[in-house]
């Protein structure tokens, strides 16, 4: 558990799915090592234990919506454990529940998504993606394996430059790629035929909550009449309604945007006096919210849906939760 938390903190683990899976696996280990103290019931005590872990993780890095959903799932599973079960039985049930969650909601969901999305890629397409989303990467590689002829434009931005990671993996696999920064988006958008975006979460009003910059990409694409496909597993959907990106967000390291890696000559912000720094706020937002107007379709494990249909899935999903 500590290791996962520290990995979050150091930024070694990033990407919604990777973080969520790591967290669930850490929970699994914790459950295996767990033994109920005397005079307490497993259901109560384990729930509070998990609560403790979660608050530790939150201290390391705020949880994403998907992780919140996963934790809710786990807690509901614990709460619904029949009291007749012995401790070891309960533990194995929980572990297999977690395994099933990872498998069904993440791994299999991704497979379904890429099947759906690949049908939207045609020969001669120019696909644009922003940052590094593992679902989008899988879609591109899958379509490439299917022998579709297309080009990829990877758009990236400071300070994370995650797109370079994606770019490297795509180029290694032999895809033809163009790499550019977010500033050049209006230039490259001319020839783009599809935009594929990943998401951290999708709210019930259809707003897509994703890496900062996604909103501008979607907006430019909308202005150029290029369809925007958001690929997101259904477990990341959330019933919250959010209109802008300020009311719920995560702040990154402010120093990260004041410096440019590898460029010592860019040092305009160095050596500011404390007095001057009082007038300066370095705002490094991690996420932004894309209004549903800019999104043509959301590709999820339940199929391709318009953003207006998100509440249906959220509702159905919640029901399913209880039934699992």
């Amino acid at each position: 558990m500590n290791r996962v938390g520290l990995q979050y903190l150091a930024g070694d683990l990033s990407g919604g799915n990777a973080r969520c899976i790591a967290m669930l696996q850490a929970f699994q280990e914790a459950i295996r090592d767990y033994s109920t103290p005397p005079e307490k019931t497993l259901t109560r005590d384990l729930t509070s234990k998990i609560g403790g872990f979660v608050s530790f993780l939150i201290e390391c890095r705020p949880l994403s919506m998907s992780m919140g959903n996963a934790i809710r799932f786990l807690k509901s599973r614990i709460a619904r454990l029949p009291l007749t079960l012995s401790e070891s039985e309960a533990k194995t049930t929980l572990c297999s529940d977690i395994d099933r969650f990872i498998n069904e909601k993440i791994v299999l969901a991704d497979k379904v998504i890429l099947r759906h999305a690949a049908t939207k890629i045609r020969d001669g397409d120019v696909l644009l993606t922003y940052g590094s989303s593992c679902v989008v990467e899988m879609i591109l590689l899958y379509a490439h394996e299917l022998g579709k002829q297309f080009r990829v434009v990877v758009v990236d931005s400071h300070p994370m430059l995650e797109g370079q990671k994606l770019l490297r993996r795509l180029v290694v696999k032999g895809l033809s790629c163009t790499y550019t920064q977010l500033n050049a988006i209006s230039y490259v958008m001319h020839k783009v035929t599809r935009v594929f975006l990943g998401a951290s979460s999708i709210f019930s009003n259809g707003t897509v909550y994703s890496t900062v910059g996604t909103a501008s990409v979607a907006m430019v694409a909308h202005a150029f009449r290029v369809p925007v496909l958001v690929c997101c597993e259904a477990y990341k959907f959330h019933e919250r309604v959010q209109l802008d990106s300020i009311c719920f967000n995560e702040l990154g390291d402010p120093d990260a945007i004041s410096k440019v890696p590898g460029r010592v000559d860019v040092n305009y912000l160095d050596n500011l006096t404390d007095k001057q720094k009082e007038n300066l706020e370095l705002l490094n937002l991690k996420y932004d919210a894309t209004p549903s107007d800019y999104i043509s379709v959301i590709v999820t494990d339940y199929g391709m849906i318009p953003p207006t249909s998100v509440p249906v899935i959220v509702r159905g999903y919640r029901k399913e939760y209880l039934l699992i």
Binding site: R151, S176, T178, H190, K191
Partner: protein, 726 residues
């Protein structure tokens, strides 16, 4: 991508007084002194060949200018007239603060000769940049120069700084992407001193040998096989005088660099400067021509890219790396793919497909033509329905309708390919006949501007060529003009390595299979060779260096033979046991064996002697063996210090019984008993051997079973002893 005028990059900053003393000079060798670009270089010097439609030398000169060089001496040899004429007519002759002086020579046959001549002229007054006219780079020299100068201040022997760049060669072909062979360099990671340079390592052996002193003298050495030599050198004046002193130095790397590294009398040192983000590469062969052209089109060499370099002639860069001059006539149905260059005045017909290619100026391309990965120079006519894949087509070539160029084809100047003719892969076609007396020594080859071919050229190129070439027309189909050059024996296999065409997959597969086999062989011999060749160091400086590098298995076999010979000599010449021990010990040291091996080997020779000496029955054999063991037990005993060695003897014996001396198989327990009696083997050793064998396969236990009684007896004896002790 605004057009940044060249020269805008940072100039070398130096103290003003120093600058006044030495303007930075450069020697540019406008001759490669090789024949890799034949047949094209028979008619035009390599440095004037168009690289993405701009003569190569322009890239080099533009870089030198931007890097702060003020005086360039262009050394011309082959086709010197063409180079000089070109430079005089070009913009380079009238640049402020950048003077280009040509030095002409007709009898230089190597870079060494060129540098000697320049030394005689006495024009170089300080540090200079040595570069050949086919190098493309955009690196900044400032840092490298500064490092060079600082080192010089500390150590006057640091006379050269070589620019290197990271480039991992393919593990399959052992070639870099520039088509050059894998290069091994040993560099001191702290001082960056170059300690070893080998560009012609023999891969079949799978290892390279370094001098032991190299390891001894340097606290740390890194051996690289992932560096590419950019052929950009910053040299001090001494380099020129060194060439003059050593008049046999011809090749810059093979003679000069290696010569300096080996020579420890003068103590001259070469250092390296590694560049990371900037570009530097030399066009060494057709493959690098292809690679570097692509790099230029993909703008890795910025600011030395066509649209910037051409300046006035208005070449526009469009999406997906398409470079198009302003007055290209392009059919509406033509399909232009990515990464192409189309020069001025070129016409392209209907439904023609072009991708990853360069097309020069004033070319006429008909309809339904397919061009992929090809380099088409100026004034080329390609009629309808032709297909070109990975070919180089020089000026004035005519492809009649339906002609097909297979991958790797080179068509030299003004060749005509007949209708529907298919030019086979990797052929080189020229109007000139192949020179018959090809110099076998690569050093000495250079385009011969003075010999008979020169006259031939002037005849043919000036006038109408069709009549006197009619008899050879058949070689290129009806209406075709030109000779297809024959590939020399042995060179054919290598053709694909340096060709413009990408390496065919079947070659790669074949290489991979070969490699696997090799590796298996080597692994069987107990020596695993890593993909890049294993580094082995000489363990001692004297004559046995080579033996050391042989596989240890072979070593053991030859060691065993030696021991046997020694033993036999000892038996026949009645050598004293002490002397025999000494001799075997000496052998052990020189073969670097453990005493375990000695015991095994001696026992082997003893038993072999017993088998070979005349005997009629098993009992006689037993007696023979007993005699020999009795006589030589002291010799054997002196190598059996501990139980492990004794076990080794038993194992050896077992092996013999199974393989070489089957007669002993029946006598196994007796001999074992004999050895025990003579106190050569302790009972502990035998029991441990028995224990070890207990768990083995049935087949392995044959001898264990035979000697069961003996072992049983041993065990009982032991127990009794223990009881007695109690």
């Amino acid at each position: 991508m605004g057009a940044q005028k060249k020269g805008a990059t940072a100039r070398v900053s130096e103290d003003p007084e120093e600058l006044a003393r030495h303007p930075l000079q450069a020697i540019l060798l406008a001759d490669s002194f090789t024949t890799k670009f034949r047949p094209i270089t028979l008619e035009r010097p390599k440095v004037l060949l168009p690289l993405v439609n701009i003569p190569m030398i322009n890239y080099t000169l533009a870089w030198l200018e931007s890097a702060g060089v003020e005086e360039v001496f262009v050394f011309c040899c082959a086709h010197s007239k063409q180079v000089i004429d070109y430079l005089e007519s070009s913009e380079w002759s009238s640049q402020p603060n950048f003077s280009v002086t040509t030095i002409e020579s007709h009898n230089s046959i190597s870079a060494g000769d060129a540098l000697r001549l320049i030394y005689e002229r006495n024009v170089i007054h300080g540090d200079f940049v040595l570069i050949s006219g086919d190098t493309v780079s955009n690196m900044s020299l400032t840092q490298a120069l500064q490092e060079h100068k600082d080192r010089r201040k500390k150590d006057a022997n640091a006379i050269m700084t070589m620019v290197v760049k990271q480039s991992k060669p393919s593990p399959i072909t052992q070639q870099s992407r520039l088509g050059t062979d894998e290069l091994f360099m040993a560099i001191n990671p702290v001082t960056k001193q170059l300690l070893y340079y080998e560009d012609k390592a023999e891969y079949s052996k799978g290892f390279i040998s370094l001098d032991k002193t190299l390891i001894a003298d340097n606290p740390s050495v890194i051996l690289h096989n992932d560096k590419q030599d950019c052929y950009i050198d910053i040299c001090s004046q001494e380099v020129l005088s060194l060439f003059t002193d050593n008049f046999d130095y011809q090749h810059l790397r093979r003679h000069f660099v290696k010569g300096l590294l080996v020579d420890d009398i003068m103590g001259y040192k070469i250092f390296t400067h590694e560049i990371h983000s900037s570009y530097a590469a030399r066009i060494d062969n057709f493959r690098s021509y292809d690679t570097i052209s692509k790099d230029i089109i993909q703008r890795w060499t910025y600011p030395f890219v066509p649209d910037v370099l051409c300046g006035s002639s208005a070449i526009k860069v469009e999406r997906q790396g398409t470079y198009r001059a302003s007055d290209v006539t392009l059919s509406r149905s033509a399909q232009l793919g990515s990464f192409i260059f189309i020069g001025q005045g070129t016409k392209i017909g209907n439904d023609t497909k072009i991708s990853h290619s360069v097309i020069g100026e004033r070319c006429t391309i008909g309809s339904n033509v397919t061009i992929e990965g090809s380099y088409i120079w100026n004034n080329v006519t390609i009629e309808d329905g032709c297909q070109l894949r990975n070919a180089i087509v020089c000026d004035g070539v005519i492809l009649k309708s339906g002609a097909v160029l297979q991958p790797g084809v080179i068509l030299s100047f003004k060749v005509v390919v007949g209708q529907q003719f298919v030019v086979p892969a990797y052929s080189k076609v020229s109007l000139l006949q192949q020179p018959t007396q090809q110099d076998s020594d690569e050093e000495l080859e250079y385009a011969d501007s003075t010999s008979g071919t020169g006259e031939l050229r002037s005849d043919k190129l000036n006038g109408d060529i069709a009549p006197d070439l009619s008899e050879i027309a058949s070689e290129l189909g009806t209406g075709g003009v030109g000779y297809i050059w024959k590939v020399f024996e042995g060179a054919y296999d290598e053709e694909w390595r340096h060709s413009v065409a990408p390496i065919p997959t079947d070659k790669l597969v074949k290489l991979m299979l070969d490699r696997d086999e090799d590796e298996e062989l080597l692994t069987q011999d107990g020596n695993i060779i890593s993909a890049s060749g294993e580094l082995k160091t000489d363990s001692d400086g004297n004559g046995s260096e080579d033996d050391d590098n042989e596989d240890s298995r072979d070593d053991y076999v030859s060691f065993e033979k030696e021991v046997e010979a020694t033993f036999l000599r000892a038996v026949h010449e009645n050598v004293k046991v002490d002397l025999a021990v000494l001799e075997v010990n000496a052998l052990r040291l020189s073969y670097n064996m453990a005493s375990v091996d000695c015991g095994g080997a001696i026992f082997y020779s003893m038993m072999k002697l017993a088998v070979e000496s005349p005997h009629n029955s098993a009992s006689e054999l037993h007696r023979n063996a007993a005699d020999i063991v009795t006589t030589w037990q002291k010799l054997l005993k002196s190598f059996l210090h501990d139980i492990d060695e004794e076990i080794e003897v038993i194992l050896k014996f077992e092996e013999m019984c199974l393989e070489s001396a089957k007669e002993f198989a029946a006598l196994f327990p007796q001999i074992l008993h004999l050895l025990y009696d003579k106190e050569i083997l302790q009972e502990d050793a035998i029991l441990r051997w028995a224990d070890e064998k207990e768990g083995a396969d049935e087949s392995d236990k044959v001898f264990l079973k035979r000697s069961e009684k003996f072992i049983q007896w041993l065990r009982e004896a032991e127990e009794e002893e223990e009881e007695e002790d109690e």
